[in-house]
Structure formats: C-alpha cells, structure tokens
Amino acid sequence: MSQHPPTDFWSKDLVEGRDLSELTTLNLGPTHPATHGIFQNVLTLDGEIILHTEQTIGYIHRAFEKIAERRPFYQITTLTDRMNYCSSPINNMGWHMTVEKLLNIELPQRVQYMRVIVMELARIADHVICNTIIGQDAGATTPFLYVYQWREKIYEVYEEICGARLTTNMGRIGGWERNWSDLAWVKIKAIIKDLPAGLKEFDKMLLRNRIFMDRTIGCGPISGERALRYGFTGPNLRAAGVDYDVRVADPYSSYNEFAFDIPIGTNGDTYDRFTVRQEEMKQSISIIRQALEKLEKLGDKTTIRGDVPEWVLPPKEEVYSAMEPLIWHFKIVMGETDVPVGEVYHCVEGGNGELGFYLVSDGGRAPFRLHLRRPCYIYYQAYPEMIKGGMLSDAILTMSSMNVIAGELDA
C-alpha cells in the first residue's frame, strides 16, 4: 500500500540522495504482457518498492488531429473509432454530436434514445473488459473467460446495427445510416434480461472475495483532490469520491430524461475503481431498460434521422432514379456541404471519462483544427504518483484498473 505523501508526479524526491548502485532500474514495457498495450515505464526500484517512474508514450501515435484537418467531417468518424476501441460507439456518437452542435441540428427523440442505448451498451462492454482484466491481473482468470461473453453479445448487437464489431463507424452526422433490424432489438432485450444475473455471478466471484479484496484495497490510491488536479474524469474520478459525470453535469442526447445513480467510491484505490465500474454497468442496464420503455411509448418505429438531407446519404434506389438525391449523394461523398464558421466544445461521458472534442471550423470542408480531449491521456500522467512507494505487483493492478487504452492515450 502506498504511504507516500503526494508530490507532483515528475518529482524525484525518493531517489534523491540515494546511492544509485543500491537501486534497480527495470523496464516495464514497451511490450509487456501485463500492461495490455504498449506503454513503457522505466521504474527505479529499491527491492520491490517503486521509487520513481519515467513514462514514455506515443508508440501507436497516428496523428488523428492532423489527419482530421484534411478530411471531410463524415470521414473523421472512423478516426474516433480507433481512440478508445473498447467503446468506439461512444466516440462515434460524441463526434456526431459535436458536428451537430456546430450545425445546430436538432434530432428526433427516437434517434436520441437509440443513441443512448448503444452508448450504454458500449459502456457495459468497456467496463466488462476493464473489470475482468483487473481480475485477470490479480490472478483470477475465471471472470475473464466467463464474463467476457457479455462483451461478445454486445459486439453481436453492433454487428446487427452497423456490420462491424470493433471499429464500428456507427451512426451518421444527423442520425443513423439505417434502421435497426428486428434481430438487433431482440439481442438488446436478451442482454438486459440476462446480464443482471451474469453480473451477479461476477460480483460473487470477486466483490467479496477475500483474496481479491486484500489484493486491491489500498492499491494505487489517489485522493479526490489530487485526482481533480490531475484532470481525472469518469470512473477513476468517481472512485476517488467526486460525483462528476458528464451525463448529469452537461446532459446530451436526452440523458436528462433518465433516472440513474452515479456510484462513487471513497479511497480512489483499485478496489473502488472496480466497484464503481461494477455498479455503473448495473445503472447502464437500467438506462437501457428505460430507453426501451420510452421508445415503446413513442410508438415511432421508423424515424432514424433528423431533417438534414445535406448530411445523411439518401437511399440508394433514389440516388439512381431521382435528381435531387443524386446531388445530395454527390455532395456528401465529396464532402462539399457548407458548414458555418465557429468553434464548439462538446463532451460525452466515454468509458474512461470526459471525452471532449474541440472543433474549430473556418467554413471549409474539413475542420480548421480538431483537438481531442482523451481522458486516458490526461489521467495516465498521474500513474507515477499513484504507484510511488508501492510494490511492483501493485503497479500492474493499478494500471489495469485505470483502464489505460493505448489507442486513446496516443491518438
């Protein structure tokens, strides 16, 4: 357990004045099986105690912000997929909403509820991955093998909706590319029916498991105040006791119509991060259930987009037979639709926290500048502080419980 009083993460206070020949330098990464992604941490150790960490990131940097400056708006969706690829639909929806905010597009309720459903499914998939991997790194392989089936089922829903599983490119600016198939609805309903029992099993395996608790309580803690200063958001911030959730603070996509709780932790350690995610999945199920009820009440089964022909591709048979759809089709594909000059910042609650898009448009076909606020990139810098003074094995668990996703980190 880390007993170290907080100092800024770049401080070398534990190493200073030490005889370096007594200390060990250990390269954790760049490709280490326990870090689940490409991160390099050069640790300075005294025995097994971590004194200092030097991070290197950027191994899968793909310059999304630069590429986005040369692409029409609709082609940027595919870049957002590849940030947090454990919950790409949230990134897709976040990007669509950013552009819609710039264009002042209002969407029909049905589209909004469908977005809520798919975003909550993505959140569940994201948290399933993170929490089972915490178990895996603590030595409990069973959840990783059994609970993972829920991620598989959610990916099947993605497949039904958009045809892809991981990098989804789901939805379009202004709505959905097509209506969801009946099978998609059946699969969603099956998930919310059966998942609570699955989560209960997961809870039974780990939540009150003595070995797991001993291993994770007090492991990699951070206080709420420090977490805020490091720009933490999402489950990691809530585990530290701060009840900030973008869905409540700045509701988007009609989240203001839903009733749900924001679970918070107290110690900001690995166990709290685990339990917060665990509870969030249950809240997500409740949100999806409410959305299904609302859709039922709406009675509308066909609306899939707002009234924005200049952004959503017309049906193919119309493109081949009528003049106007052909023109729209051409203009959309070539990225020739006019956009207003302006700047917007829009954020959504991603799997890891506030996923922000700062979009500056000069009226051209591509953004003048797009800055992506990736929650991982911002909170991963606190990692050295969280593991300082702790054991090497705790560092591994801390990293998996922070859910650092390389794609989002390096963008």
């Binding site: 630069k66 720009g231 603070a249 922000g356 500056v360 076909r365 500048r369 800055h371 606020r373 810098q381």
Partner: protein, 170 residues
Amino acid sequence: MPGFAVKAERDQQVKDRVSAAFGEKITAIEQERDLICIHVKKDTLHDLLRMLRDEHDFHFLTTCCGMHFPGEAQEFGLVYHLHNMRAGHRIRVKCRTTANDLEFQTATDLWPTANWMEREAWDFFGIKFKGHPNLKRILNMEDFPAFPLRKDYPLEDPTRQDKDDRFFGR
C-alpha cells in the same frame, strides 16, 4: 444543469470581474456559442488563469491546446478550457502570440495535469513553456525534425511524388 438565465448571469459576473482586474490586458471577451471566451495578452495569461482558478472556482483544467494561424501577425495561440464543476460552468481562454515569441508561462504550478498538455503543445506546435519541469516531445520521437500540427507541415510524406495534398481536402 443551470438554466440559461443563471448561466448568463455567471458569465456576466466573470466578465465584469476579469475586465475590472486586468483592464486593457484583456483584448476581448466574446460569446462563442455556449461558452464565453476571454482573449488575454500573453504576459497576463498566467495571472488570469490563477485568478479564475482561485477566485472563480474554475478548479478543473479540461484542455489546453496549441493553435496555428499561418499568415496572421499573431501566428500562434493557446486555448484553455476551464471548468467549474460545482457550478457546472465552463469557460474558454485564448492567448495569441507571434512566431518570434513562443514562450508562455507554464500552468503546471496551477494544475499538474497541464504537464502533458503543454508537452503536447511543444511537440506539435513548438510552443515553449517557461518553468515547465520536463519540456520534451511526448507523442513524436525525440529527434523528429518538425512541429507537425503547424499548418505548413504537409500531411503526406513530402518525399513522395505520387501524392499531392491538393487532392486530399483543402
């Protein structure tokens, strides 16, 4: 979520206090969609950020990113998004500078999280930060020869003959 009137009132409060405190050092305060944006002169940026953090409770630094406007006198810029979570209030701060004067005061003393954001601005725009504890490239390799998010840096590999930037957008 505060209602529109409450938000407008808060914005007005910040506007009044900031203009009273810094006078002509604030070059403009404008409404950009849902956020107000304070344009500040470079030498006052740090004082303004400190005041917003300490007196207006903008305790959370959401983003800090570089900007490049080729052809303009004030060629480079920084954009900060600050957030007051208690009041649900966001604000944008912008600061511009010329190409010969690319050193800003670091904000790492106000928010440790500014560390990597500023390293990103250095890495991609070549904007320096005075007092930064570890200002080196972060996402690109250390010996990368350029600042790639500057507008004059071509997206496609400049040594290739078969690809022309004009065919890829702007």
